[in-house]
Symmetry: C2
Subunit: 395 residues, 2 copies
């Protein structure tokens, strides 16, 4: 359990604004609520942060598990406020407002800060019952989440271990494929992006991870950083493999990208691979607590521009070259704070970030190399243990 969560920045903000509590009303897909409460459930539940603790409101169905598993200081079940009677009398929509108002009153809360995503239905319902609802505009919880506890770093490391196994499965498929008529062939069938993705997913499942999506993109597909890839994989072309699994139990993501080529990639493809690798190394070298995400992004751009490629820094309208940020935070969400981009602020020890420069051109294909690291006081610790090399092997 993530016991070292420090909500003091939130409590200081509440006190400064003269607000009694902070309330989240969401289901298990909301990572802020999962983080604050140490609990997740498929259906909506509510979390209240006050000066004296974290308080959960859950259905009877979830009560036992919330008591046992959550990090909340108190857990209340809906039946404590006669929820069934409220639904029978007022219908489910109005009943929820009355339920939540009673829960807030119980904790002495008249004024509430809520996240930007708080449901307008609930906000308006509580306002109609006399509560003062203020949207917290800064995303304070997101800021707190950016700095990982030791426990969280262990969970992310475990997800990256599963990711390494999945990448090895994919690389091995590429390495052992035959080449027939310019196309990779495995077990007598064309080796497609879809087949490789399925084997990646199966490996992740066997390691307790799931994913919604993964990228295995060959040739021109790989030149669009958001193309997931499809169809037969070709020899002599760059193949970008980007895997971002999530542990099914803990909810923590990992993230890694490697680029491979079978056969004889063009001179220009090889050059781009080497230049991207230099940019990745330069960005890693730049990381330490106190530098900004923008500084790290600049380090990558410097290498790429010096080698003659466009970046969004050298040409904001370019559609080829380095056309995304150098990295992003990873945790309970695959994209979270901090940002390693032109707008990226100061990095702190305990930030977990990806470093993933790339070069893209439909005429050549895409290259991206990505590791996941923890920022430390004097550098970084790499959470990724996976060889960087263009030619796939079975090692």
């Amino acid at each position: 359990m993530n016991v070292d969560v420090d909500l003091s920045p939130l409590r200081e903000s509440l006190e400064a604004e003269g607000i009694d509590g902070y309330c989240i009303d969401a289901d298990g897909s909301d990572s802020d609520q999962r983080y604050v409460s140490g609990f997740t459930a498929p259906d909506p539940y509510q979390t209240l942060v006050t000066a004296d603790g974290v308080h959960l409101l859950v259905s009877g169905l979830e009560y036992g598990r919330a008591k046992a598993e959550s990090s909340a200081d108190s857990v209340t079940r809906r039946s404590a406020y006669d929820y069934r009677d409220l639904v029978a009398e007022h219908g489910p929509y109005e009943a929820k407002h009355r339920l939540l108002a009673a829960f807030l009153e119980d904790h002495g809360v008249d004024s509430v800060a809520v996240p930007r995503s708080f449901p307008t239905g609930t906000a308006d319902g509580l306002r109609a019952r006399g509560l003062e609802i203020t949207v917290e505009p800064e995303g304070i919880i997101e800021g707190i989440r950016a700095t990982k506890t030791e426990w969280e770093i262990e969970q992310i490391r475990a997800s990256q271990r599963a990711n390494e196994a999945a990448m090895a499965t994919a690389e091995s498929l590429l390495a052992t494929a035959d080449v027939e008529d310019g196309v990779l062939v495995s077990d007598g069938e064309p080796l497609t992006s879809e087949r490789v993705k399925t084997e990646i997913e199966i490996t992740l499942l066997r390691h307790g991870c799931g994913l919604d999506d993964t990228i295995v993109a060959c040739g021109a597909d790989g030149a669009d950083p958001h193309d997931r890839g499809s169809g037969p994989l070709e020899a002599d072309e760059l193949i970008v493999i980007d895997i971002f699994p999530r542990d099914k139990e803990t909810g923590y993501f990992a993230d890694m990208t490697r680029t491979f080529a079978r056969g004889e990639p063009s001179e220009e493809a090889r050059r781009r691979y080497e230049v991207t690798r230099e940019a990745y190394e330069a960005a890693l070298e730049a990381v330490e607590a106190g530098v900004t995400g923008a500084d790290v992004h600049d380090a990558a751009c410097d290498v790429l521009e010096t080698a003659g490629y466009e970046t969004l820094r050298s040409d904001p309208s370019t559609e080829t070259g380095f056309i995304h940020s150098t990295g992003h935070g990873v945790g309970l969400d695959i994209h979270e704070a901090p940002s390693v981009s032109p707008s990226g602020g100061e990095l702190e020890a305990g930030h977990v970030i990806s470093i993933e420069p790339g070069l893209y051109d439909p005429a050549v294909g895409g290259v991206r190399i990505e590791d996941l690291i923890v920022v430390t006081e004097d550098g970084y610790e790499n959470l990724t243990d996976y060889r960087v090399g263009l030619e796939p092997t079975t090692e």
Copy 2:
């Protein structure tokens, strides 16, 4: 593409209330937005329904795909409102409000109805810019979604085909396991709930489906309808397998449950299986357009109570017997309208519902039998093609 979506109930409500448009601001996890726009994306986007059409507001990254794939009448990219300049000048939070206000103004919309889940941050931001925001309390879109188009029924049918393959994988593992010291053993290792779930997931992946969760629950675990199951599967005990996969492309769910036992289940376990089967058949028999979900639920309760078991109808506080509803709608969400429960309203042709009575007692275990069906004018069409039988086979 789901071309036959009929938004007229929403438009009639807007007209009756004198409201210009209905706006959704959510990401791809919001099934209402996916349904209305025929589009989904990982990051937030906005959908506006007016009297004259459905209008999408998306990032430049999603613009091409939204134009090609969505069912919207118009697609606008954020850059049309100088979004980058807005962010630079006002920050991302305020910029979003200005962006959305400009988009609404472009469509002549001053007053907006929003779903209950609409973000309070966006609602308050738009209100501060003079727009009138009203929460639509009825869940009109959910009501529209309950009646499936022909296209949707085909997608759900396809997901149920994948589900049948997964159930066959699981059943075959049970059927071919050895029994050693009262525990099922496969390939020399105890056959656990976890192993069966992994093989179910792998089969689903190979059929293009994913899932967050599945139930393989043996003995007392199976007597709690929300227990996912864990540990070695035992001979002579009831094993509940409930699979609810989602097609990765279309987003449509399927749902099916079967209960099995190896060895010699107790007399009482066998009796409960037969009674549950009778309740399932009686509930199916009761289904046709015009009857209510409550009627269908009553048909299941009648059988179970006549056989001497408690239901929540005979004893609202019972913790054994039939302790959930008979069924629920299935579509882009695994639980959606209509309800086949004491509060279930009139069923209509085109509703897709599960029929899943069960009996639970920690001393005996759990039984549940579930098919997925489409309501028709004079009965139902079963979307499920899977044998009902307690003894697992490899057929």
